[in-house]
């Protein structure tokens, strides 16, 4: 029965798109992601990790990407379910991804832990960027079996 439901949901169902333009939007997104994770039955530690990663990446979108949007989606794959959060901006892009993912490297005045930290906190991390076009980061947290 469960398998059937999961196969039905093989692609993302339940997708919500929210704007990311201000500090306030970052807080709203954090609250929304927490509610999703809670309703999914994620443990407190997994919730905290995913929300912290969300906060870091949402801040990057607002601060470095010149604003953009976030997509929150419930995803299923191989009988497991998870929450996927995407961060999309049309800003300047990242010139050196390797460097940007290095602990302590920052072009702003931050600690340089945002990207690398978010990567560690999520189960899956995907970054696509093109100079002058923008950056998309996608993170996923899977519910343990």
């Amino acid at each position: 029965m469960l398998r059937e439901i999961n196969q039905m949901n093989a692609t993302a169902d339940d997708t919500t798109v929210v704007p990311l333009r201000s500090d306030h939007d970052v807080v709203s997104l954090r609250i929304m992601v927490r509610e999703c994770l809670e309703s999914f039955g994620f443990g407190l530690i997994e919730q905290t990790k995913m929300i912290t990663a969300t906060s870091e990446l949402a801040r990057n979108t607002v601060r470095y990407g010149g604003g953009g949007e976030s997509e929150v989606a419930v995803v299923s794959e191989d009988g497991r379910r998870g929450l996927r959060v995407s961060f999309v901006d049309h800003g300047p892009g990242i010139a050196n991804v390797g460097l940007a993912l290095t602990d302590g490297y920052s072009t702003g005045n931050g600690l340089g832990l945002g990207l690398s930290g978010a990567k560690r906190l999520a189960d899956e991390f995907d970054l696509k960027t093109e100079l002058g076009q923008g950056t998309t980061v996608v993170i996923t947290k899977w519910k343990p079996f």
Binding site: R30, L44, G114, G117
Partner: protein, 133 residues
Amino acid sequence: MRSSLLSRVPILRMGSLLLVTIQVDMHDRLAMTLQDDLTERIVKDRANGVLIDISALDIVDSFIGRMISNTASMARILDARTVVVGMQPAVAITLVELGLTLEGVSTALNVDQGIKLLQCPGKDRDKAKHLSV
């Protein structure tokens, strides 16, 4: 929600200590305002200790972490010590994985212990800890 954008985090004075209880969802501007307000109050109230209660915070990300570290550094230069109290276990686990060590920031499990820590001068603190074990 929107009101939190305009609000400030209240700073209470208890003798020579300042107590800050963060009870709203911290956004970046609020964190910066708190940092400025605190350093101002340390001087104005001649405080020698700052207690920051974060038990109501469900996350501490790199920005809030940096605000806490910076506040502790500034307070130290102004001759005040900072103790962060009430961090939730899940927040501590996440902070370490994030790579944030909050260097130079003292911590205690709750406000009571934080006050004790601030009332013990520097070197005796470790002694007091050993004795209590």
